[in-house]
């Protein structure tokens, strides 16, 4: 291994799944955190404990268990508020996923603020979950979608982005950290929206556990992320929205928990955040997310970021030295994600080969088919790092890649 500074967080022991042997003998090297992060013991134990000792529905009954459940659910909201530095708990809506958060905004923002012919600005590097909800508006209501180009570096072309605005532009929705390139959104994109007074939604699925998030400093109007990519359970997502916008937009789904008063003639709706949380929420998962945030805070987000930056840079340099590897995106800084191809070997082959070596990487289009078309590939292999990864793992991965290349070119 190179003589580089290593910040060993020594947290592998916190993640029970990492002691699993792949095919009964290979140590697991998990390089697929961008798809979903593994869960620390505290999250697993605390969600178990919730079911065993505290479980009931939230915000409905008055008995002891209802109080204990409600306390945990609302405490999780407070933790998320602090995690994002939102102004108020009213700005934190629990959803089942980040995807649901984007659908919620697309539908209700349209209903309140848009009409046929109005425009939404997106970009070429968006995940399908930040494309299809807007496609629905185009298909159902005649909304016009515009897509910012990207530069070879993988960053959004800011000049082109800026040129897309017209007096019909109503909202912008962009990824905060590309799930293919690992590049962070240029802050200029947000300031352009601010200058033009156009709301912007940031898809924070890849940034939430890998960058320090301050929604006030960022100046975004909406921010979504998912629990499972931030070391918490699947089935819980977060939508942050400014109180102004969330108050003006109509409810998304109707049901229990989101009402003020109901008669057969009609209903009034609950105040924020309950207004957007119809039905029994994923309460245990929300609690699990709160515990995951505690876990990240305990290690320190700055430490996590430094650790991941070091591994990412190390892996990038290693891959960059190999002539049969093509890295996607430029030389610019990446956060925890690197997409690449082994020349003349399909990413599926790379992933299956590495799998039997105990190494989990993602292969495919990463839910970014328009971007894949733009790159002229039908799939890529992707490395993504988390708090539990190490430089030694990268070294093992590089050795396995050489074996892989040899195997398929024999």
């Amino acid at each position: 291994m190179d003589d580089t500074k290593t910040l060993n967080l020594n947290v592998r022991k916190d993640f029970p799944i990492l002691s699993k042997k792949i095919l009964k003998k290979k140590d697991l090297i998990y390089f697929d955190t961008a798809a979903s992060a593994q869960k620390p013991n505290t999250v697993i134990d605390e969600t178990n404990d919730f079911y065993k000792n505290h479980y009931s529905n939230v915000s409905r009954g008055v008995h002891t268990l209802s109080v204990e459940s409600t306390f945990r659910y609302e405490d999780a909201r407070k933790k998320v508020q602090k995690f994002l530095n939102a102004r108020s708990e009213n700005e934190i809506i629990f959803t089942k996923s980040a995807t649901e958060g984007i659908n919620l905004v697309a539908q209700t923002f349209y209903e309140k603020f848009m009409q046929k012919g109005d425009e939404v600005i997106l970009s070429l590097i968006e995940h399908h979950s930040n494309l299809i909800p807007w496609f629905f508006l185009r298909d159902k209501y005649g909304v016009v979608l515009k897509f910012a180009n990207i530069q070879p570096s993988g960053e959004i072309d800011i000049d082109h982005f800026n040129s897309l605005f017209t007096n019909k532009t109503k909202i912008v929705s962009l990824t905060h950290l590309s799930n293919v390139f690992g590049t962070e959104l240029n802050e200029k994109a947000i300031s352009i929206c601010k200058d033009k007074n156009i709301p912007i939604l940031l898809d924070g699925c890849q940034s939430a556990a890998h960058l320090k998030i301050d929604v006030q400093k960022l100046g975004c109007d909406f921010f979504v992320f998912s629990g499972h990519k931030t070391y918490g359970p699947a089935g819980i997502g977060v939508l942050y929205g400014t109180e102004n916008l969330l108050s003006e937009m109509p409810p998304y789904q109707g049901g229990g928990g989101m009402i003020g008063d109901v008669s057969l003639e009609g209903a009034s709706y609950a105040e924020l955040p309950a207004k957007y949380e119809a039905g029994t929420p994923p309460l245990v998962e929300a609690h699990g997310l709160g515990i995951a945030i505690d876990y990240m805070n305990k290690i320190g987000l700055d430490n996590i970021i430094e650790h991941e930056n070091e591994i990412t840079k190390y892996a990038f340099n290693k891959l960059n030295e190999i002539d049969f590897i093509e890295i996607h995106g430029g030389d610019n800084k990446r956060n925890s994600i690197i997409s690449f191809n082994v020349k003349n070997v399909h990413s599926h082959e790379v992933s299956s080969f590495l799998d039997v070596e105990g190494i989990a990487i993602r292969a495919g289009h990463h839910c970014c088919q328009p971007l894949m078309k733009h790159l002229g590939v039908n799939s890529t292999a992707r490395l993504s790092f988390g708090v539990y990864n190490s430089l030694e793992e990268v070294d093992k991965f590089v050795i396995a890649l050489h074996k892989c290349k040899e195997f398929f070119n024999k």
Partner: protein, 144 residues
């Protein structure tokens, strides 16, 4: 080298993956269908000519994909060319069983068949879709 990998990538698979046979479009053809794996983006177009005795006179494919999907499509076209439709459908059933990991009760395929080389896919459940993409396109073309 790991046995699983050697089973999955037998020489014949790598060979057909690198140089797929019957690659192109059948002209003329009267049956066609697109195959698509939405999980990874692999795709192919299958065309064939079914004559009035219900025999597949010619069959070809184009597309892009991994070694498994290309080899499977290539071996499929080799196997199905000249077969009666009823026989082809039996081969389809056998093949889907084979790559799902069960080679019992096969009716028409046996270990002598080149298609048997794809049995190793059974050890990689997430790759079954790669191996069956061309075959489902074939079934689809018969329906249309």
């Amino acid at each position: 080298m790991n046995d699983l990998i050697n089973d999955l990538y037998q020489e014949i698979i790598l060979d057909h993956g690198r140089e797929p046979r019957n690659f192109g479009e059948c002209e003329p053809h009267n049956k066609s269908a697109d195959g698509h794996n939405p999980l990874c983006g692999d795709n192919l177009k299958l065309t064939f000519l079914l004559n009035d005795q219900n025999i597949i006179e010619d069959i070809k494919f184009t597309g892009e994909g991994c070694a498994i999907s290309l080899a499977s499509a290539s071996l499929m076209t080799e196997k199905l060319k000249g077969k009666k439709i009823e026989v082809a459908e039996e081969i389809f059933k056998d093949f889907t069983n084979l790559v799902s990991g069960s080679d019992e009760d096969l009716k028409v395929l046996n270990e002598e068949d080149s298609l048997y080389a794809l049995k190793g896919v059974g050890g990689f459940p997430m790759r079954v879709k790669c191996a069956t993409m061309a075959w489902h396109a074939f079934k689809q073309a018969l329906k249309d």
